[in-house]
């Protein structure tokens, strides 16, 4: 009887010893005279269980985790290769509540398939969207994306279809499709998981964008901190090209699309789309003033579609099942699903893809099981380093772009960082300013200088020097940064600072409550 097992190759699994576990399984199987077909899959996104080993049985895939190399001999002894009982056994993977209750559309194949197997990909709806797009006119493809209500998942939430329509209508001899994979926000990794765990879906989404807009060249701009994602994407592009899904005359059609990976170099600001374009052009990642918008004058001055990884990765299922199918998920004007990343000080951190509308409380307690430390949760930062700290009063607000904006928070890229009651929000506010100072591209004054002044003002405030004046100065400075910065780095750094000041004044040595809201 042949035995098939899965051990993830996602870097979060590797960081917890997945390679060592895979080697131990191979070795132990050899010693026992067993033949194990070991597949290196993506991660299911339940990181407290990594490395998660799955064994294929007649009933389905059975999960064991977290497995260490030392556990392997005992697992074989207990006959886990037949799906038998063991303290690390969690039953059928698909039946684990954390996974079962999700709505995985973009992440449908995540952890299920071998990321670099075209056969696995196609067996689970892969390239169905591309084939459909090739059968439609460019306008019809754009219409499907418009109908789906898909908004940019990188943080700005701009309707993807409108952007695509603008590029499609632009007249130019050369157009580009650029994927922003410079996922620098702390508390986010859904782009990384996609590139490492289901890279063909990104290729498919970008190719559909090329067909819709008439672009023939594409770039995936990936941060240098993601070496595994870079390697996997490059390999996937080679495989897709060799199989005719990329390159000249895709699947025999008149469409051509060439795709290339560009490695970033550790500048957070290059996650801003115009700074990213400068970087791909080989320059310093300095933000461009808009207009002109990149859809009209983007990469090398040509019309350019720019979306992030999750946006492109959401497109194939929209084409395969129709815009209306996708639009049915979600609430208000936030349609579809969001791969949420539950991170930081939380017991069960992981990737949770759900339709918009879920609340922070549900995420942190029903999914997350409370804090990892066992202490009370004090603050949650949603939407990365430029997102606000959300106090408990807002933990029941549905996750929805408009509902969040109404309470001064941002959904951003769907990253949630949980802090327990040992967190000092004045330190986190200071860190936000410090980070902005380190990462500012230097083009506009409010960001370049304001961030450094911000650190100084917070230091004076927390040291108790003339506090009312410092509070006024800090609010005034944040107002200048918010309204005067060229891009979101300077413009949104005030979010964590002001929310920390408003909701946790005691951490700054101020009396409760603060006199004036922002």
């Amino acid at each position: 009887m042949s035995i098939t097992m899965y051990v993830p190759r996602d870097s979060a699994a590797l960081a917890l010893g997945a390679d060592e576990v895979a080697s131990a399984i191979t070795l132990e199987a050899q010693q026992r005279g067993l033949t194990v077909n070991l597949v290196r899959n993506g991660s299911r996104g339940m990181f407290w269980l990594e490395p998660l080993v799955e064994v294929v049985t007649d009933a389905g895939r059975v999960a064991y985790g977290p497995v260490t190399p030392e556990d392997v001999a005992g697992l074989f002894e207990a006959r886990f290769q037949a799906g038998s009982e063991h303290p690390l056994r969690h039953g059928l993977t698909d039946e684990i509540a954390y996974l079962r209750d999700q709505e995985r559309l973009t992440f449908a194949r995540m952890g299920v398939t071998d990321p670099l197997s075209l056969a696995d990909f196609e067996a689970l709806e892969g390239f169905a969207g591309l084939r459909r797009a090739l059968a439609l006119s460019a306008q019809e493809v754009v219409q499907q994306v418009l109908d789906s209500g898909l908004r940019g998942r990188g943080g700005a939430a701009f309707p993807a279809g409108i952007k695509w329509r603008t590029v499609a209508a632009a007249q130019a001899s050369q157009k580009y499709v650029v994927c922003n994979a410079d996922e620098g926000d702390s508390g986010t990794y859904s782009d990384r998981m996609t590139m490492e765990g289901d890279p063909f879906v990104l290729i498919e989404g970008m190719t559909i964008a090329a067909i819709a807009t008439g672009a023939t060249q594409g770039y995936v701009y990936i941060r240098s901190e993601y070496p595994y994602a870079i390697a996997t994407m490059r390999e996937a592009i080679d495989l897709a090209t060799a199989a005719g899904f990329l390159g000249k005359r895709i699947l025999g059609s008149e469409h051509s699309f060439h795709l290339e990976v560009r490695k970033a170099a550790g500048a957070y600001v290059c996650g801003e789309e115009t700074a990213m374009l400068e970087s791909i052009e080989g320059k310093r990642g300095v933000v461009r003033a808009k207009p002109p918008i990149p859809a009209l004058k983007g990469l090398f001055g040509q019309p350019t579609v720019i979306n992030n990884v999750i946006t492109f990765a959401s497109v194939p299922i929209i084409l395969a099942r129709g815009g209306a199918f996708y639009k049915n998920y979600g609430v208000g004007r936030s349609h579809g699903t969001l791969p949420i990343q539950l991170t930081g000080n939380v017991k069960y951190g992981g990737l949770i893809e759900k339709a918009f509308g879920i609340t922070l409380r549900q995420l942190m307690y029903d999914y997350g099981g409370g804090s990892a430390s066992g202490r009370p949760i004090k603050a949650v930062q949603v939407g990365g380093p430029l997102g606000s700290y959300v106090p408990e009063a807002h933990w029941d607000v549905p996750l929805d772009y408009e509902a969040y904006a109404a309470v001064g928070a941002t959904v951003g890229h769907g990253g949630i960082v949980v802090h327990d009651d040992t967190a000092d929000l004045s330190k986190l506010a200071r860190y936000a300013m410090e980070f902005c100072a380190i990462e500012s591209c230097g083009k506009c004054t409010p960001c370049r200088i304001g961030s450094t002044r911000g650190v100084e003002v917070i230091d004076r405030l927390t040291s108790g020097t003339n506090q009312p004046q410092q509070v006024k100065l800090l609010r005034d400075l944040c107002d200048t940064m918010l309204h005067g910065s060229l891009c979101a780095l300077g413009g949104m750094t005030p979010n964590p600072v002001i929310s920390a000041l408003n909701y946790y004044p005691e951490d700054f040595g101020l009396a409760l409550p603060v006199a004036k809201a922002a």
Partner: protein
């Protein structure tokens, strides 16, 4: 690496990327991957061959945190100091790492490795590690040092 070998390596790499559109960053990555850093002496050659000013090349090298102008120790550890790792005590790990730094161990901050549900995280040479406490740090660094 001897100065002449470095010069030759850079020449070969520059020639390979000369015609690439927007090729400066890919070239700098190639040089750093081969040499370990971007030698100051190579700036003139890069500028000349890519038809850029020395200031433009220098500007790009110094703008990006990833590019180094100086050689580093054989073992490089990057400790994540971003929010998710902070929430799990990475500042203690950072202080511990800094106290371990010496001429054979370079310690640098990094702002997110994308392992935020398994914090604190760090990269040690080419590998990533998650749920790192001081004990795990010491064990991993000792192994890396003995292998260097």
């Amino acid at each position: 690496m001897a100065t002449e070998t470095i010069h030759h390596t850079v020449e070969v790499l520059v020639a390979a990327k000369k015609e690439m559109q927007g090729g400066l960053l890919p070239l700098l990555h190639d040089i750093q991957d081969a040499v370990g850093y971007i030698p100051y002496e190579s700036v003139g050659l890069i500028a000349q061959e890519l038809n850029l000013s020395r200031a433009e090349v220098h500007g790009v090298i110094t703008f990006y945190h990833h590019f180094r102008s100086e050689p580093v120790a054989r073992t490089v550890v990057q400790v994540c100091r971003a929010e998710a790792c902070q929430s799990m005590g990475s500042e203690h790990l950072w202080a511990h790492a800094c106290s371990a730094a010496d001429s054979h161990l370079t310690v640098e901050p990094v702002y997110c490795l994308g392992l935020c549900s398994s914090s604190p995280a760090m990269a040690l040479n080419d590998k990533v590690h998650a749920r790192v406490d001081r004990k795990k740090f010491d064990r991993l660094v000792a192994i890396a040092r003995s292998a260097a």
